[in-house]
Amino acid sequence: MIDVKGLTVRFAGVTPIDDMSVVFPAGTCGLIGPNGAGKTTFFNVMSGFVKPAAGTITAFGENLLKMADFRRARWGVRRTFQTEMAIEQLSVFDNVAMIHEHSGAKRSTRRADVLAALEFVGLTASPRARVGVLGARERRLVEVARAVVGSPRVVLLDEPAAGLPDEETSHLSGVIQRIPDDIGAQVILVDHDMSLVSACCQTTAVVDFGKLIASGPTAEVLRNEHVMRAYLGTEAEV
């Protein structure tokens, strides 16, 4: 469980997160909202890239904000980025092994863990293949494999389905749904694809202009009037 209390982030004159309090219960939680609502900024706070002006984040009873940024991975925070960040120069295996190396997991199980993570995401490319030669779908799966290897506690997925065709999104959806039970990690999913969010997330929080406007069971939240207005107001033109 992740408990966010009074979180505020300010960049010179802008307040992307404004006194946000929300609880993400175990399992998979959605975090949705229009563009610029503060979703990625929240992930950046979780990863330690952004220092909040106020507020606390308690994850599994520990104060996450006290931890140095590069130590959070070892503690168990993993994330993917909106633009995919798999390392082109390295092979698929090395891409995932690299995360394992810094996760504090045992060296003796590295090989098995990496291959298990690749199997978990259903990647069909050879582990020896260089990521630079893979297609968008396979790179995305490599990223997810990077996020689930080495027993993470919290997996943050930032628009994992962006730009993927429908049938590949449904494969990804299946992978994400299995993360809490098979990997034992809590997932926070940011995405604009509501069918993906509905399929994966038991609960969903909605933010707009840095404030929480609704949270609860996903189906209820998506029917919420404020949520519809927030989405239709900005997303209808898109």
């Binding site: 990863s47 330690g48 590069f70 959070r72 960040m85 690299m98 291959l115 069909t124 050879s126």
Partner: protein, 361 residues
């Protein structure tokens, strides 16, 4: 690339993967072994003294280029002061050689260690800088090194920190920096340098193929992503600086004993730029590229000047054209492009011998 991916589609089996890796590694080891035999056994038999001396320099500058490519190709930090660092290593090696009687391998290690320290000290503030700024700062440091060396020159066995004596018995005959006892001759020393260079390449390979190499690659791809992956970016950047400086320091000590009496004029600021250019032409993503860079840096000037009688300044133009070519069309450099082009050429020849004969005439 197609075959293994098709095989693993049926069953992503671990043993096949292991076998695959071993075969590739074996081919590489065989290629390196053949190269070493050629260099160590065949070359001294067929080549004259001036060629051997040039090949010694090629081996030394390959190690310097290796340091550059590790920093730029693996971590993404561009350092335009690598030849200045070589001069620093050469200075330290010379000073230590005159001041102490330590065995040559220890001398190499000590020089490498001290140069490593210098490199890390330079790298420490440079960590805050990236891209163009780091390049500028390192270039300025290279310029400063040239100036300082110009004023103080290299040690010649004199006293004090500078180790330079302008008067007394040393002026008439400065003894050259010593070589290892059992490699005094040019050929013997050439073999020694090739072996040390091979060890440096092995050191680089061990790093690149292991945890540091993967951490460097992730830093190069994206620093935020590396941070999110738990990479201690400061530590790994300093590690890269330290490793490249160690190698360059060892190369400097080898160079000191090769030329015997090093002079400040040997190291110009622009040499650092030439080295960067040749390293990029050779290919910064492959260790082979550093060898190509060493050849471009040392063998080509020798061929142009001593063998063919061309103006060596032509080389600057050639390197400029080569660098442009690399930046525009072949970011992997010769080490990456040459095998591809050869494969393409082979295919063309196989496909089109008859076609070439036909309509052309």
């Amino acid at each position: 690339m197609e075959a293994p991916s098709a095989a693993s589609r049926d069953r992503p089996s671990a043993p096949r993967f292991a076998l695959d890796l071993d075969r590739r590694t074996l081919v590489r080891i065989a290629a390196v072994a053949v190269l070493l035999v050629l260099l160590l056994v065949v070359a001294p038999e067929v080549l004259g003294t001036d060629w051997i001396f040039t090949f010694t320099s090629v081996a030394i500058y390959s190690v310097v280029a290796l340091g550059f490519s590790l920093l730029y190709g693996r971590v993404g930090m561009i350092s335009l002061g690598q030849v200045a660092l070589l001069a620093v290593g050469c200075w330290i090696g010379t000073r230590l050689a005159y001041a102490s009687a330590m065995p040559f391998p220890i001398l190499l290690l000590a020089t490498g260690a001290i140069t490593c320290l210098v490199g890390v000290l330079v790298g420490l503030p440079a960590l805050r800088l990236s891209g163009l700024y780091l390049a500028l700062i390192t270039l300025i440091l290279a310029g400063a090194t040239t100036v300082i060396l110009g004023v103080t020159d290299f040690p010649n066995g004199g006293g004090g920190f500078i180790g330079r004596s302008a008067t007394g018995s040393l002026t008439t005959s400065t003894p050259p920096v010593r070589r290892p006892e059992w490699a005094e001759s040019d050929v013997g020393y050439y073999r020694y340098v090739v072996v040390v260079a091979a060890i440096m390449f092995l050191l680089g390979l061990v790093h690149v193929a292991a945890k540091p190499g993967r951490a460097w690659a992730s830093i190069r791809e994206s620093e935020p992503a590396a941070l999110a992956a738990g990479v201690n970016i400061t530590l790994y950047k300093l590690w890269a600086f330290g490793l490249a400086s160690f190698m360059t320091g060892v190369a400097g000590c080898l160079l000191a004993a090769e030329i015997g009496v090093p002079r400040a004029i040997t190291f110009q600021t622009q040499d650092s730029l030439t080295l960067a250019a040749t390293a990029m032409i050779g290919g910064i993503f492959s260790l082979w590229g550093a060898i190509v860079a060493g050849i471009f840096n040392q063998l080509l000037p020798f061929l142009f000047q001593a063998q063919w009688g061309f103006n060596a300044n032509l080389l600057t133009i050639l390197f400029g054209v080569g660098l442009l070519q690399v930046l525009l069309t072949a970011p992997g450099g010769l080490a990456d492009q040459f095998p591809k082009d050869m494969a393409k050429l082979g295919r063309l020849i196989r496909q089109g011998i008859s076609r070439l004969r036909g309509p052309k005439g």
